[in-house]
Symmetry: C2
């Protein structure tokens, strides 16, 4: 059975959506996801806001109540019939997120056993056939094929198969 | 550069040692590591103590102040000159341990970058050439070679290269 590793933030969890809301509230701004063409939130805000904006992710329970990316639950549920699925988050970048991420996964993806969750840093450690991820940097030394999940920051990245949505993932892996 | 994945509990962190101390304190017992020949703590204590003994690991900050297994720091430090080293703990079995394990690693193994830490469950997800671990169950589907780090519970396990100490690891991988 082939194995698919799946990222969390911007792939199944809408971290960017919450980050934009918090940023707009804090700075009286009106950033919208569509303003981020080929860039992350940093690219659309003044340099002097970067530190405070980064701190939003590292403090409190940022990751506790993220929205689920549409259709990710039903597609991953169906993928499990034909593939071995692991959720693989580079959570080591934000150690304060461990408990929230684990609880979030249990709440929204209860059909994925905890044996199949991975909190890591360098994703080249993953032994999988595919890695669905919005960060192409993780594909560089990954031994399988990287599938780029579209996000504003990766809009101009070339060189990988790209999926725009979980409907695309379903079409790619389940041919329906 | 070949890659070595290294377990935490009973390999670099003396979880059993603390567990025995807590058990003896709670039950007025005098269990010693040498009493555990081919068994874990469960095998040496009455069945009616199992639930309370298991709970010791899941509550509070059990993993915060474990002793370091002798010589693991200096040997792993030296291994990094010739191998890529990842620390890989099946921490998903005890989600309350995430923060303590991360802090413990930062305190005792500051020379291992957080990119090279992995909290997982099923270790077949690890892409590494070697896995040094006290639990042979992790070797079943691991794609590299499992190296069994001796612990009381695995004393009678056969079929893998075994190391008794970090001196043995040094001799095996660094030939000194």
């Amino acid at each position: 059975m082939k194995r698919i590793a799946i990222d969390m933030d911007e792939t199944i969890a809408d971290a960017l959506g919450k980050h934009i809301v918090l940023y707009n509230e804090a700075f009286g701004a009106a950033i919208h996801r569509d303003h981020l063409d080929g860039t992350g939130l940093h690219g659309a805000i003044p340099l002097e806001h970067h530190a405070a904006t980064d701190a939003m992710i590292h403090s409190g329970s940022f990751f506790a109540d993220l929205d689920v990316i549409p259709e990710s639950q039903s597609v991953i549920h169906d993928l499990q019939e034909k593939f071995e699925v692991f959720i693989t988050s580079s959570a080591m970048e934000v150690p304060s997120s461990f408990a929230d991420k684990f609880a979030w996964l249990g709440r929204h993806f209860p059909f994925i056993p905890s044996t199949h969750l991975v909190f890591c840093g360098d994703k080249s450690i993953l032994a999988a056939d595919y890695l669905i991820d919005d960060s192409p940097r993780h594909f560089t030394h990954f031994r399988g094929e990287g599938i780029l999940f579209s996000a504003p920051h990766n809009r101009r990245v070339r060189g990988f198969r790209r999926v725009e949505s979980w409907q695309d993932v379903r079409a790619l892996f389940l041919q329906v």
